[in-house]
């Protein structure tokens, strides 16, 4: 029973982090190249433009949900299962979501990179 709770919480972490990462990535593409923008309009304007972006705020909220899901997952399961499982599934989930929702060109090079890193993280934290 506890294992089911733990895996549900892990899936919640993965879902919320993927949603958060995609929203934050979209927000920052809307804001534009921060380095070039800062030289033109100044740092304060860049920060205001970022904080005023609805996708940014939603992304931060999703990250907060992911954080609290992590706390729940850790109260039910071992950190040696929760951390690597959530991290490596998030890498794969992000590659899929970035292709679908951000229309990034996830070519074979990037699939291999995401899979290798996901496998490596699973081994490293395990």
């Amino acid at each position: 029973m506890k294992a089911i709770y733990t895996w549900n919480a892990i899936l919640a972490i993965v879902f919320a982090s993927v949603v958060g990462d995609v929203l934050l990535a979209r927000a920052m593409k809307q804001v534009g190249d921060v380095g070039a923008l800062r030289r033109r309009v100044g740092l304060v304007a860049v920060i205001r433009r970022t904080l005023g972006n609805p996708n940014f705020l939603l992304g931060v909220m999703a990250m907060a949900v992911a954080f609290f899901s992590l706390l729940f997952a850790l109260s039910w399961g071992d950190v040696s299962l929760v951390a690597p499982a959530a991290a490596s599934l998030t890498f794969i989930g992000n590659a899929v979501a970035a292709k679908i929702f951000l229309h990034e060109r996830v070519d074979r090079r990037r699939w291999i990179a995401a899979s290798l890193v996901a496998a490596g993280v699973a081994l490293l934290a395990g």
Binding site: K29, G35, R49, G52, R110, A114, V117, G120, V121
Partner: protein
């Protein structure tokens, strides 16, 4: 990609790894916190390791957002995963912890993955517009932002 951008990616990597380590070290000193004793959270934040960790994670977030403003998510995430390797190397050579062969394999896989991504382009060039089409101008319009939006809509690259 120029030197400045590699520096930002290195910042994402190092700030995340160092911030997590400091936070973890501090929270072990601060002890358990629970919802019944919320004042224990305040004591935890007063711990210098925890406070330092939070500052580093804020720096991580700022550099991560900067990287996402000019690179794809599927580029930034693998490129900055060397932080896991960094943590393992710190554990091995500074803290003299035992690193098992399985973990060395994990280090090799992550390093290989980063090598795969490093040779490719960092940003997908979309054919129709330089900026995302939906809501190109999310904040109060200014002449500058309106100019950006026009460029985005007409597909003119600066």
């Amino acid at each position: 990609m120029n030197f400045r951008k590699y520096l930002v990616l290195a910042g994402v990597t190092v700030f995340a790894a160092a911030g997590d380590s400091m936070l973890s070290h501090g929270m072990k000193q601060a002890g358990n916190i629970s919802l019944n004793h919320l004042q224990s959270v305040i004591f935890a934040v007063l711990n210098p390791w925890v406070a330092g960790g939070i500052l580093l994670l804020l720096a991580f977030f700022a550099t991560y957002m900067t990287a996402l403003s000019w690179a794809d998510l599927t580029y930034v995430l693998p490129a900055t995963s060397l932080g896991y390797v960094l943590l393992a190397l710190v554990a091995r050579f500074l803290l003299h912890e035992h690193v098992s062969p399985l973990r060395w394999l994990g280090i090799a896989l992550i390093t290989g993955g980063v090598g795969f991504i490093a040779g490719g382009p960092e940003l997908t060039k979309h054919e129709h517009s330089a900026a995302p089409v939906d809501e190109p101008c999310a904040v109060a319009p200014s002449p500058l932002l309106a100019k950006d939006a026009r460029n985005g809509a007409s597909g003119v690259e600066l």
